[in-house]
Symmetry: C2
Subunit: 428 residues, 2 copies
């Protein structure tokens, strides 16, 4: 694994960050799919499913019998694990729930912020070869806690025309109301605009392939979306007390996601850097997804040696990684110095996989440096706010002249007039 | 003003909502501007300013002398009004500030949510003929309260090469750190990617013309943006107790913004509807911006007669208006029935203009039906969250098997391995 300095890393990154061309061909395909689904509804969804997934769907909706069958196909061990995960995810996200509030001021002024759940949400869950029950929990549980009235899920069926049973059991446990056996850009279009069978939603969340990501970008504005997820990243800050075997395993767990995933360790110890590099290569040999891992580590894996923790944190705050592990002495003490990271894992026994599945915080995190300005998926993504303003006659009278002064300065005299008609009425 | 039923209104709206072509020519121009600013920095910004604003800028940054001059050019009345607005906006937004939190669980588990201000923000303020000091306050004050370290503002200069003095005084009062005399897509590109003079920011907020809106859409992802504002809207729910003169003035204050602005009144009283229609036309005659108002009212102004308040609220929740005024008996009682609206104004003495300028809640609100899934601009837009996870050795041990079970079900065995290396170490 390549060992470099901050400067070398930054120069290399700068080189890669050249402005990219938009993928016009992909957009053409995706826009055509969206257009046809809007025009022809279910028929278009069925046609695209046949074209891309290889079979024609009789029923788009997963039946109660299919849910029951799924439960019979999974192990008790898996069911118990999902229930524990649900319990922990619920406990954490309950704390995120926001309440409406009001403040009162003199003379009958009341101002407030009303917090309301979204009416409906659609969750995209990738299917086909991969099956991610954890994604179902991480998207549906916050929506349930927010109080969303209707939670729909879309996910492509497997080659046998059925949805992966782990995914279905997770959906049932997490409070999903309806599951459609559809995927791709056609599923995003169906959720955004509705068809005969698929009821329109106001927000779409969840990860997907390039088609799904582009479709989400195009329907954005007509509906809300969560985020366009980029390749996954981990950054581990390690000092000489860290264990190379632990850090190596954590870097590799990130690398197995995707060839474009990036795994970076920043360390104050050159000896640790060298021990880590050896350990990464030794562990890599034994992994099932060795091909992906090797490409990812070679292309995007780096060990960066710095002079001090201060320098390490400066690097981290610039990088704004999706996952940050502090594997240093007294990591809690250093927390105040971290400004930009999606999730922060403290100490030697808080590996990323713990957070991916069971600790409770959401595993949908801002990627690709966007942790500088974005947050993990949370209950707040499934609620929205309305301001509330109530002024009495006297209270309005007291600020009338100020409103008229500002409105006049902005040249908006009809605004001023809406105050003047009320003053005139009071003088009558 | 046209009086219609809910059905007529909905059919008409459906008709307008046909899929729109993207404006390819506008995108070409905007993308070229962004590309050149990224490549040539200040020089490109100066060239575009000369081309679009008509003069070549010597200095891009507003000087302390220019701030002092601006203060001398405004009236004491205006200064007092701005100070009162600042006071009220600050009082309201202070309540929005979120705190970091931690929860403890058994066996040394600590989970948290760390709330951190954004490092830097850029605020776009339209210039030229119009000047909107209220926009400065509504964007900068929440950023200041969030604790953003660096608040930059961009706004085009007037024909005399200076920034509007009302806008400059508002910027100084609201805590803006630096003002650049630039506007258009070139200003957005400069904020997003940086130039020799303009320091890059992580989020851009504020309204602008079509070029600015497209530029924000294109830089989105590299930086955060607030929202792409559409035409402004008001919806007034009125019963027979409402005063036609007040409602008319409020509808017209919305209409003066823009030919595309929409002003709708939903009423349970046909007599009120007819009185209102007359009043709108009478008041319109006396307005400075009569041309804009007339087009807006003719094209998008509607009075809708319904049978009951229940029907009115159903209509409102479907419409999800930016501004909602409840001019009915006991409006506070009806608040629970409103699910979708940007800002809700209660009673006869809470006109929209009050909220635009001085009440305290933000005037940057979700437009065009997006109140179904978006919130007003707030302190939360200038902060972001990081999850925090700390597990002890024992606590991880207790969930190890569950993590491995789920990881295996997802086929992510390197994830499972990151837990296994820790188990192996404990058994040693």
């Amino acid at each position: 694994m390549k060992i470099s300095t901050v400067k070398e890393f930054t120069d290399e990154k700068e080189q890669r960050n050249r402005p990219q061309q938009n993928d016009v061909d992909l957009d053409k395909v995706v826009l055509e799919i969206i257009r046809r689904v809007r025009e022809r509804g279910d028929e278009a969804v069925r046609d695209y499913t046949e074209k891309f997934d290889g079979f024609r769907l009789a029923d788009l909706i997963v039946s109660p019998e299919e849910f029951a069958e799924a439960r019979s196909l999974i192990t008790d061990e898996f069911y118990a694990a999902i229930c524990k995960a649900k319990h922990n995810i619920t406990a954490y996200h309950e704390v995120q729930k926001e309440r409406s509030w009001f403040i009162n001021q003199d003379k009958g002024v009341m101002l407030g912020q009303k917090v309301t759940p979204l009416d409906s949400v659609g969750i995209y869950v990738p299917g086909g070869k991969a099956a991610y029950p954890s994604t179902v929990l991480m998207n549906a549980i916050p929506a349930t806690i927010a109080g969303v009235r209707r939670i729909a899920m879309v996910t492509p069926a497997q080659a046998n025309g059925k949805v992966n049973p782990h995914v279905l059991v997770a959906a049932e446990e997490a409070g999903v109301d309806i599951v459609y056996k559809i995927g791709g850009a056609q599923a995003i279009a169906a959720l955004a605009y509705g068809t005969e069978t698929v009821q329109k939603v106001v927000k779409i969340t969840g990860p997907g392939n390039a088609y799904v990501a582009r479709a989400k970008k195009w329907v954005f504005g007509d509906v809300a979306i969560d985020m366009i997820a980029g390749p996954s990243e981990i950054c581990v800050v390690a000092d000489e007390t860290a264990k190379p075997a632990f850090v190596a395993a954590d870097l590799l767990s990130q690398a197995e996601h995707d060839e474009r995933a990036s795994a970076i360790c920043v360390t104050t110890s050159r000896e640790f850097a060298e021990a880590l590099s050896k350990e990464v290569h030794a562990q890599m040999e034994q992994l099932d997804r060795k091909g992906i891992v090797e490409t990812s580590i070679t292309d995007n894996g780096r060990i960066i040696v710095v002079d001090s923790l201060e320098e390490a944190f400066q690097f981290v705050n610039e990088l704004a990684p999706e996952h940050l592990q502090l594997m240093i002495e007294n990591p809690m003490e250093q927390l105040p110095f971290i400004r930009n990271a999606g999730a922060i894992f403290l100490g030697n026994y808080s590996p990323e996989a713990l957070g991916d599945y069971i600790a409770g915080p959401n595993h949908t995190l801002p990627t690709n440096g966007t942790a500088a300005f974005s947050s993990p998926l949370g209950v707040y993504d499934f609620m929205k706010k309305s301001s509330v303003i109530h002024y009495s006659r006297q209270a309005l009278q007291d600020v009338s002249d100020d409103i008229i002064t500002i409105a006049d300065a902005e040249g908006l005299t009809a605004h001023a007039n809406s105050i003047k008609v009320r003053k005139a009425d009071e003088n009558a």
